[in-house]
Symmetry: C2
Subunit: 361 residues, 2 copies
């Protein structure tokens, strides 16, 4: 910096100003300094900058795990938004425990947090210790996915309700689906809905991921609530919980489709992988999955997330679209906003979900 100052015939303070507050420097002087900076190829030392300003343009993003298309998308959105605003992302997955003599204590172990200006934490199931650590860091925080019981903290959430409700109603409507052959007794309580050619609420099943997972829990809740609006009190066997993978979908599907006749007619899956597993199970059990608009005695399936997996299924999978990349982008945007306005009221960003109907329903 001293070299630049000398070359431009100014003091280092002016060089610093050119870098940080160009408006407070005479146009003339600034240009001269700028030229010197360029010819000398000067780059400020970020550590010295940080030492003075106590902030950086680095953001931490802490994920429960990194796998599958979902996290790629999330990161893609987050990275794009961060870069658009001149920030960069420090990623870390929780990576439970470890061992091996490694000194890994995650993001909070070393003093990496010292580098970042803010932290986005994704919390998909109850995790007090993680939350405590995040709080303890003293960093500006944005929470992804957990609603935090209305606590005063920035958060970005997926509005599972809209998409779930839409999917359930779509499945209930029987549009493109079967007309049921008579009652099936399974706990029907009058049924104020269903409509002509509709599906009975008792013939609907939700196959979720882990029960503790916030999204799965909420989707299940809304699933049940939507059936309740039809006057149907869903039985426990109408919501199944397992893992977010194909295997669980296949297993659940095996149970559902090989069971005695009260077979589900509409199935909502907790994500697309589960849905694909269900589809496989249906095929194995000889249960038809209707192409769009066709009528059949089979089952109709809707996935969740609307990943590229939907194009892999035959027929293409109907799915509830979750704006995954937007979720990452919104988290970053919210965090940066917070950095710039520390005193503003905490905000909650809720991203809508919506049904995308394809061949399986």
């Amino acid at each position: 910096m001293e070299d630049v100052a000398r070359a431009a015939g100014v003091s280092t303070a002016t060089v610093s100003r050119v870098l940080n507050t160009p408006d407070r420097v005479a146009r003339e002087t600034a240009a001269r300094v700028q030229r010197a900076i360029e010819t000398l190829g000067y780059k400020p030392n970020v550590f010295a900058q940080g030492l003075m300003t106590r902030r950086s343009r680095l953001l931490g993003i802490l994920l429960p795990d990194i796998h599958g298309e979902f996290y790629s998308e999330l990161l893609r959105g987050a990275d794009a938004e961060a870069r658009r605003q001149g920030y960069h992302l420090l990623i870390s997955s929780e990576g439970r425990g470890l061992g091996e003599g490694g000194q890994d204590e995650g993001l909070f172990g070393g003093n990496v947090v010292g580098f970042i200006a803010g932290l986005a934490v994704m919390i998909t199931e109850p995790n007090e210790s993680l939350l405590a650590h995040a709080r303890g860091s003293g960093l500006p925080l944005v929470v992804i996915d957990e609603d935090m019981n209305g606590e005063r903290i920035d958060r970005v959430l997926v509005d599972n309700a809209s998409g779930t409700r839409e999917a359930v109603e779509h499945l209930l409507s029987g549009r493109g689906g079967a007309s049921q052959q008579g009652g099936r007794g399974a706990g029907e309580q009058g049924g104020g809905a269903g409509g002509a050619g509709g599906v009975l609420p008792g013939d609907m099943v939700f196959v979720g991921g882990p029960a503790e997972n916030f999204d799965t829990a909420e989707r299940a809740r809304v699933f049940v609530a939507t059936l309740a609006e039809r006057g149907h009190a869903a039985s426990a066997s109408q919501t199944l919980f397992g893992e977010y993978d194909v295997e669980w979908g296949r297993e659940a599907g095996g149970r559902l489709f090989r069971a005695l006749p009260p077979r589900p007619v509409g199935v909502l899956a907790g994500n697309d992988e589960i849905a694909l597993g269900l589809l496989q199970a249906a095929e194995d059990a000889g249960v038809e999955v209707p192409a769009r608009g066709e009528r059949s005695g089979g089952v109709r399936v809707v996935g969740f997330d609307d990943t590229r997996l939907t194009t892999v299924a035959r027929p293409p999978l109907s799915s509830v679209r979750v704006p995954t990349a937007d979720l990452g982008a919104a988290a970053v945007r919210t965090l940066i906003e917070r950095l710039q306005h520390p005193e503003r009221e905490p905000v909650t960003v809720t991203l809508p979900t919506r049904l995308v109907v394809r061949g399986t329903s």
Copy 2:
């Protein structure tokens, strides 16, 4: 740090030593300092540390893009290895161009590079400017995926050859495949191989991703070379190039399976998505895909990467396993090694690929 020093009755220099070179401090003293550190909850200021030492425990990882399961896996492996060694990852995708008045010039735009101790760049197709930038950063570098023409630089590569060769030979062997009905003239040149019940080299096709992509190019090359060993000079129509996605696979499959009788009997795909597209096309065209060990007049398909997509296909997709997470981990490991031993000879880490046979071949 001064507070800690005072509390422990030592100088700040000693506190620093306890943190960095504990062996050079009397056990007694060290313990006392350690206690003070804990009770006071002292965390060193990373910027001040960096200012003195001019290094950090941050590594940059620059990817061409972030999407799909491949990059999740890569990052998962890289993140795990980094954390195991007390490092953290700064990610960035190239994100070509941008605009919007954003100040985004990627990782090299701001001075973020100043934070990192080393950089892993993944280069999947020729990109001189990226390489120039990376070099210009003056950072220790490791290149992922590009072989750099034997330049003196650390690199981690996927040995496409082993897996490709294995897959081609597997497909040629006809194990579980069809016995062809007579010659098909398509440019056969003697054919020193094929074996009883084998597939003719002329009946093989490679459906790759973009032709410029290093992996696709190498896989195609080895594909052709392996056929050449059988005395077959592959025609241009035996290697197809497109995108790394389902749509391209479906399109290519459409061409292949709906074409006049010289239909391919063995198809190697450039990745699993393409393979799934091929499978869909085969189904649409009424071409059978054999279950493992069965005989059929259909086509046999092998994918590449061995992602979880393999479990989504019916029958499950045979695929060449690429140790994706290992690739990320190896890059990080190599980079850290380089940081610790700047003068060592550049190394090349090559990760093997191998065929995993499942239902589609």
